[in-house]
């Protein structure tokens, strides 16, 4: 297990939904950015098929995309992300999307940005079909590069069976020093943040917030 936080100058983050960055990686990204990293976040959809509409509901199926776009922008500002790309794919449909089109968009970003680190979902172990399909596209695309051209890939996994299949995370990032950025990023997703499984029935104490959100976990993808 290695827990050191190595230096990266250019990082590409690829997730399908606004708020994927907030829960899984915002603390780590804020940490990299404070160390001088340039971060590009490619967000494939606007999460327009999301089920949370606020409590009481202030969004609907028609207004949700514009609301979530603003939330995404606010979250990126909170983290310090310098470059947000909204790729305009249809939420829930990533697994059905033209694979060549999807891969070519990822490939173009890799060519343009030449990141030393890519962060995405671990294909097969990330619960939502959009997460798995996004991770799969990133892994396919990077897998086509020669070994010496490949950036490091850090994946997020959280399926119920993931540890049996891929073991424990090999990278554990203490983000407690960036908890304000992280909570601001999570709360920026106002339409999504009130979900019952997230906030429960009462306000969390500072200690509980750190316990729940103070550490982020990644799996380094092995291409061989």
């Amino acid at each position: 297990m290695h827990n050191q936080h190595s230096q990266h100058h250019r990082i590409l983050v690829v997730f399908p939904h606004p708020d994927d960055e907030a829960f899984g990686a915002s603390g780590t990204l804020a940490k990299h950015i404070s160390g001088g990293a340039q971060v590009t976040y490619a967000c494939l959809t606007l999460g327009e098929m999301g089920r949370n509409m606020g409590i009481p509901p202030f969004a609907n199926r028609v207004t949700l995309p514009a609301i979530r776009k603003e939330e995404l922008e606010a979250s990126c500002r909170a983290i310090g992300i310098q470059d947000l790309r909204m790729l305009g794919f249809q939420d829930k449909m990533i697994e059905f999307e033209d694979q060549q089109l999807l891969d070519s968009r990822i490939e173009a970003l890799l060519e343009e940005l030449r990141p030393s680190l890519v962060i995405t979902f671990y294909p097969g172990y990330s619960v939502h079909p959009d997460h798995d399909a996004t991770g799969a596209s990133v892994i396919r695309t990077i897998g086509r590069l020669s070994a010496d051209e490949r950036p490091l890939v850090h994946c997020i996994a959280f399926a119920n069976n993931h540890e049996q299949a891929i073991g424990k995370a090999d990278l554990t990032v203490d983000v407690s020093a960036f908890i304000i950025q992280k909570m601001t990023s999570i709360r920026a997703h106002r339409s999504q943040f009130q979900a019952a499984e997230l906030v429960g029935s009462r306000e969390l104490t500072e200690e509980e917030i750190l316990g729940r959100f103070g550490t982020e976990y990644f799996w380094t993808y092995r291409f061989d």
Binding site: M49, R51, M53, G54, R61, V62, K92, N160, E197
Partner: protein
């Protein structure tokens, strides 16, 4: 979104009768249903911007509400509707939210594409 008043919905359904419309109809348990509770069976379906025309439509029940629309050759049905977008005048945008506020069903009608 505001809680549904069935009389208002009936008035608006009547106003869209016998016209070429686009429909968005959706039902979903959410992609995380089985992740949070292994005994649940995740299921979702949506159809968006399908062209329809109905001859009779009504809202029924005491809330959550049901809506049935009779088309030339068949039916459209949605159960569990709780809310309507009150600021929309041209389009009828209805949704059903569960006790946690999550969308479980959506029924939307419009003369223009969504």
């Amino acid at each position: 979104m505001q809680p549904i008043h069935p009389q208002d919905i009936q008035f608006r359904i009547d106003g869209l009768t016998d016209q070429d419309l686009y429909i968005h109809l959706e039902l979903t348990t959410g992609a995380y249903a089985a992740h949070l509770d292994g005994t649940r069976h995740p299921a979702s379906a949506f159809i968006t911007n399908a062209a329809i025309r109905y001859t009779n439509g009504s809202i029924s029940g005491t809330g959550p509400y049901r809506v049935g629309l009779k088309t030339a050759l068949g039916w459209i049905y949605a159960e569990g509707l709780t809310h309507v977008e009150e600021l929309e005048t041209e389009r009828l945008i209805m949704a059903g939210h569960d006790s946690q506020g999550k969308l479980v069903v959506a029924l939307q009608l419009s003369r223009e594409q969504f």
